[in-house]
Amino acid sequence: MARSVLVVDDSAFMRNLLKQLLEDDHDVVGEAENGVEAVELYHDLDPDVVTMDVVMPIRNGIEATAEIKGDDPNASVIMCTSVGQEEKMREAVKAGADGYITKPFQKPNVLEAIDDVVGVEA
């Protein structure tokens, strides 16, 4: 089942790449460049899933995730990060992240992560 996805990443290249990876299976309904935009767009679009970069200017992904999950505990947020440090992962989990994928990733990793957090039922 196609899910609505909000892609959050400060890199235009990475947002573009994620859109390409997801376009056959899901609907990318919005893109945000930083944590502030992510929170705003989440409330506007109410997506099924958010893919959230960690390191972003203005507001980082961990802070944005904490706010989104604070407002909507049922939100599904996948951290999508190049930072693979164990301590950073623990921080993301603490902020309420439902899953994470580490860059560089391939299409199956992204689809699997979405299935893991929102289920695969039709």
């Binding site: 890199s11 290249f13 390191v55 190049s82 930072v83 440090q85 301590e87 860059k103």
Partner: protein
């Protein structure tokens, strides 16, 4: 054997003085003025030292030394350019640069320059140091630097210059090398002097420099050097995953260099890439740089078949810099049991030395010397190369070393 930053400063200063002696010898012999451009104390593997020779297409004159300290010292240079200087020493040498006469002149030049270099160390130690006759060496496919070092001992014995580090192969053992770059003022000729003391000699000169309160086992530095190699390996793997092109780590080194010498470690050729700040233990700056052709190749590989606009290509380079940095630093954080935060990448497009200038200026507020970490990742067919330069804060890197010390013991 413990090593502290104060000892490294002493070594750096001593190696610089030795190199100035060598530069004076060169001027006396040939009439050409020269200056010591950079002196650095380098922790690397023998294969990495060899890689420097091969990259720069250098030939060399080797001299063994023994007495107060033992080891090998090497004068490396571009043969054709050096021969033009030797003509002043051996008239007629430049007419046939490949001749035995020219080679003989180069050996003599090496003998005198390296003799001056070693004299400075003997004076510091207050001990006599004897040198062997010079050997002229050209590395080729059948002859590695490790072969040369192992074979050219005055007494026929293989000098133990390895500092350890759990190496699997002899050429992967870590060595402490003192590297000096001499430039002639009016001629386009440069010389590199390497001094590779044996392990016992490193112990002796460390003892002579004195252990400070913050001295750490020398193995701490080799452990850190291995960490750099592993970080480079992860960065290489991430580059391969992103681009679909196989890459390998060419070089990874830890050097201790006067802060003003850092920009000179980069060439004045154009570079594109990213600069990031990292904060934690340690904090500092990192630059991920490509030559323009490599940057094009990487962007093409990241966006195959796409007619991407310049902004998207720039974004792709920023993202690859981001991912390479994370691959490089994540292992450090996990090994040190800490977190290292990484800033968003800033795109840079300038000559290499100008890119690192602002980073050096920032660090120079609080330190006179820098630990410079440099790695090179390349594809076997040279489709692209990626250079990584990390400049950690000296004080914080010292704290990181302290965290590693128990593991090293």
């Amino acid at each position: 054997m413990n090593l502290d930053v104060e000892s490294l400063r002493t070594f750096s200063s001593l190696a610089h003085s030795g190199a100035e002696e060598a530069a004076d010898s060169l001027a006396t012999l040939t009439g050409f003025d020269s200056r010591v451009a950079v002196t650095k104390v380098e922790m690397s593997t023998r294969s990495d030292v060899e890689q420097e020779f091969r990259e720069r297409d250098l030939v060399s004159v080797h001299i063994g030394f023994s007495g107060g300290i033992d080891g090998r010292t090497v004068l490396a240079f571009d043969r054709d350019r050096a021969v033009s200087l030797v003509d002043a020493l051996v008239p007629g040498a430049a007419e046939d640069p490949a001749s035995d006469l020219a080679t003989s002149g180069l050996k003599e030049l090496g003998n005198i320059m390296l003799g001056g270099f070693i004299d400075g160390w003997a004076d510091f130690l207050g001990e006599r140091i004897d040198i062997t006759t010079p050997t002229y060496v050209e590395l080729d496919a059948d002859r590695s630097l490790a072969d040369v070092i192992d074979a050219d001992g005055a007494d026929g014995a293989s000098p133990d210059i390895a500092l350890g580090g759990g190496a699997r192969k002899a050429d992967q053992t870590h060595v402490l090398a003192f590297q000096n770059h001499l430039e002639t003022v009016d001629e386009e000729a440069g010389f590199y002097i390497y001094m590779l003391p044996t392990r016992d000699s490193v112990r002796r000169i460390v003892d002579a420099a004195g252990d400070g309160d913050d001295a750490l086992p020398v193995e701490t530095f080799t452990t850190f050097s291995q960490m750099i190699t592993e970080g480079s390996g992860q960065a290489s793997a991430d580059l391969t995953t992103m681009t679909g092109i196989n890459t390998d780590v060419d070089v990874s080194r830890l050097s201790f260099v006067p802060i003003e010498g850092v920009p000179m470690q980069l060439t004045d050729e154009a570079r594109q890439g990213v600069v990031l700040e990292f904060t934690g233990t340690p904090s500092g700056y990192i630059a991920i740089l490509f030559d323009p052709e490599s940057a094009e190749s990487v962007a093409d590989a990241l966006m195959p078949g796409m007619d991407a606009d310049p902004a998207m290509r720039k974004s792709a380079i920023q993202e690859i810099g981001n991912i390479v940095t994370s691959g490089f630093l994540d292992g450090w954080a996990d090994t040190l049991g800490t977190t290292i935060d990484i800033s968003p990448p800033t795109y840079v497009d300038d000559i290499g030395s100008a890119i690192v200038d602002p980073l050096v200026t920032e660090l120079a507020r609080t330190q006179e010397y820098a630990f410079l970490i440099d790695s090179a990742i390349a594809t076997p067919d040279e489709t692209f190369t990626c250079d990584i330069y990390a400049l950690p804060d000296e004080q914080e890197l010292r704290t990181a070393f302290e965290r590693l010390a128990p593991e090293a013991n």
